[in-house]
């Protein structure tokens, strides 16, 4: 069961952050918060921070999956869990990139 969790964790976290950021975006646009921070609209800053957090989380997971004391013991589970770890990171970078690339709430 531990190995199954190692294999599933990174994409699961991607799914959670992806949905959460999509939800956050909906929330920000639905309630129209105003203001600026660091010279940027507050919505952009919040979304960007969430994006950064998601990336950091995935990077940490990937580290854990490579760390000798946390990695799976069988070679196969090690391979698959690291592959899905990379999937989580790449999916986060790519699918959430609109946070910094496109307009929001239009």
């Amino acid at each position: 069961m531990r190995d199954i969790i190692r294999i599933l964790i990174a994409p699961l976290v991607w799914l959670a952050t992806f949905s959460a950021i999509y939800g956050l975006h909906g929330l920000l646009c639905g309630h129209g918060i105003n203001g600026t921070a660091f010279g940027l609209p507050i919505e952009r800053v919040l979304l960007g921070a969430a994006f950064l957090f998601a990336i950091l989380l995935q990077t940490a997971l990937l580290f854990a999956l490579y760390h000798p004391s946390l990695a799976a013991s069988s070679e196969f589970s090690r391979f698959v869990s690291r592959a899905t770890g990379w999937v989580g990171l790449v999916a986060t970078l790519w699918s959430l990139s609109p946070v910094v690339l496109t307009t929001y709430c239009v």
Binding site: P11, W14, F18, S19, H25, V80, V90, W94
Partner: protein, 827 residues
Amino acid sequence: MNALGRHRKLTAIWASEPGFKGWFSTVNHTDLGRMFLATAFFFFFIGGLLAMLIRAQLATPHSAFAGPDIYNQIFTMHGTIMMFLFAIPTFEGLAVYLLPKMLGTRDLAFPRLTAYGFWCYAFGGSMMLVSMVFGIAPDGGWFMYPPLSGAIHSPGINTDFWLIGITFVEISAIAAAVEITVSILKYRAPGMSLDKMPIFAWYALITALMILTGFPPLILGSILLEVERAFGFPFFQAELGGDSLLWQHLFWLFGHPEVYIIFLPAAGVISTVLPVMCRTPLLGYGWIVAAALALAFLSFGLWVHHMFTTGIPHMGLAFFSAASTLVAVPTGMQIFAWIGTMWKGRPELHLPMLHLLGFFFTFVIGGLTGVMVAVVPFDWQAHDTAFITAHLHYVLFGGFVFPIFAGIYYWMPHFTGRKRFFYLGEFAFALVFIGFHVTFLAMHWVGLLGQRRRISTYAPEDGWTAINLISSVGSFVLAIGIAMILIDVFLHALTASRGRRNPWRAGTLEWAMITPAPAYNFASLPHVTDRNPLTIEPDLAVQLAKGEGYLGTPRNTWRETLTVEVASGKPDMHVIYPANTRLPILMSAVTGIFFLSLLLKFYWTVPVAVVGVAILAWKWVWSIGRQDDMDTVPVGQDIHLPNFAMTDRPPGWWGSVFLLTANATLFGSLLFGFAFLWTVAPGWPPPDWFPPSVSALALGIIGAGLGPIAMRYATQKNRNGGTPLASLALTLAGAVLVAVACAAMMVHTPAPTRHAYAATLFVLGSYGLFHAALGILMVCFLIARVRCGFTSSARRAEFPIVRLWIDYLSVVSVLILVVAHLPGLMG
């Protein structure tokens, strides 16, 4: 005991009742797998007939073959039957039939559940057919969008048939998915660690997990829409705080993963058949597993691409457009692994291989048009045209039907023990291939020329006449081809001469037995040391028949098998299966009464059916277990295992974990729906709010805290040899408190017909009340078991199961109560 004696003895223990009567009481996976497949292909036939009607109607302009309202029923039922009654059950049937054989064990984890799932499918499917015969079939399109499908615009019973019938069938999908997941994780031959599992099992595992998380949003959506239609709770009505987009979210949260739920099993067939046809091991096993996992996950982040034209903000669209293009990567990886396998091997053009080539050609085109419509501006043009219909058939027919035909021809010798004798199949393949491409290439074209989907007719001036005629001619060629395949299969089953064992010289375990398969699969269970056991040990079948593996000596009248640790494949439990029983068919009939009562609005029979199901479920669980402690059981090779009643993680615990996963997804979708309405729906704030009450909230939270603590205490008490009855009584009190708090919440909610806010709270309250009632029932059951001597400090397996459900109850009830009371308490 010699091989023949062993065979006789095992057959006496495992066989279903002979003849026709056996169908109703069998719990054997081989029987049920065949029944699933036969029923699914029956529905494929019906769905195909409907497709012919569609193409007949569209062949000429101003066709008077079917009027618009009948046409609506035809395409709705075609889509619905193909997706819910053909594709998913075909996967279930194939998995039910094959998995225990491939994994080297004797049956699935919960044989009676397999039967229950089958009967729910058969009854639910029949309900849909009945509606068609009476001309009151669903007619809102296979995705049933409100407001069209709401009570105002679809007043008849048609839509109710869909909502209720499909939910009934989905129970069977959830049952099968729990079954498949637990079987793959636990019910394998000793030594089969995760990396030695046949690749089909990986795909089936991933698909089953996707069913568990993909179907609940649709089940929830169907429940909400049916409640709206029957009782006027306005979940999807914008004037009253609902939002019809909520349906689209829930539907596609299911609908996109559904596409992969259909494709992945087919990919599993390809990855199994292709290497055998190419006489080489599959290239990149680990990569394929990782790619399939990636595909499964990514597919849950795509649903909004079906809603590109609903006015969602750009950034939202961009998220889903990006994620949609991303799935092409793992899909491409799988395709390359297959191409590499063909490259490395020496492909032999047997019939299954022809269908695989048909798959490659068709699916790649479907994938390319898929990438096209993932691009938002292109989709704005192509949305709701025949281009989309053509795309989806390239994916579904190419990605599912061709591989399944390959699989049928590949495993046919296994089903029947015979060999094919004539080239009918090759000829049929040619017709199917040509017919398919003519039909659907033409539809791409006419779609780009602007033909909308779901139109019952068009005018000559539209300029679509010739292309539509070509498409219809193609579809009839296709139909003849499919009919020939079905005839070929029939002829084969009835007349062909006996073939030899393992005709394809395959390496997986399902070929290490006599064919057609005996009821017990393996006379003794193998020890697995390689992914292709038969390649390294071609004589394995004989050794197993001689009883050289595990559990080779039949004991009492026990249907025995063993389970293994998930990752390593080390044996860990001894299992005795239940024998033939009519309980499953009875229980699904009573479940059917529940759904029929809802459909026909006979509300007084609803509680009768609910009580009926509860009583049968009680009987069901009561019949397993023992009243005396049992020593560890020798299973051969000097290994002794504890019976599952004497462990902390019995199969029922595993089943509960995955059932609760599905359940939690449903609950999560409900919370998502609440949040969505609150933030996005126009008609908010509601006219009146829920009156919060500190005492009701506190009461519920105390109950929710008491339950799990007392249950833990009861478990410990039992383990140490004491009597757990007092703690169980406390657990019961906790569940009762939760029930009271949830009931109070439902009573105090403002009128649920006036606003979606109150309606959602009411549903949340009933969800909590239902689970509290379930918890009460379970604790009462456990108390009865303790009193009747079914538990002891060693026979402790039932405690962790009840604990799991009590823990779940307390988590959801706290969330529900907080969601209801907190906003008001905070001002």
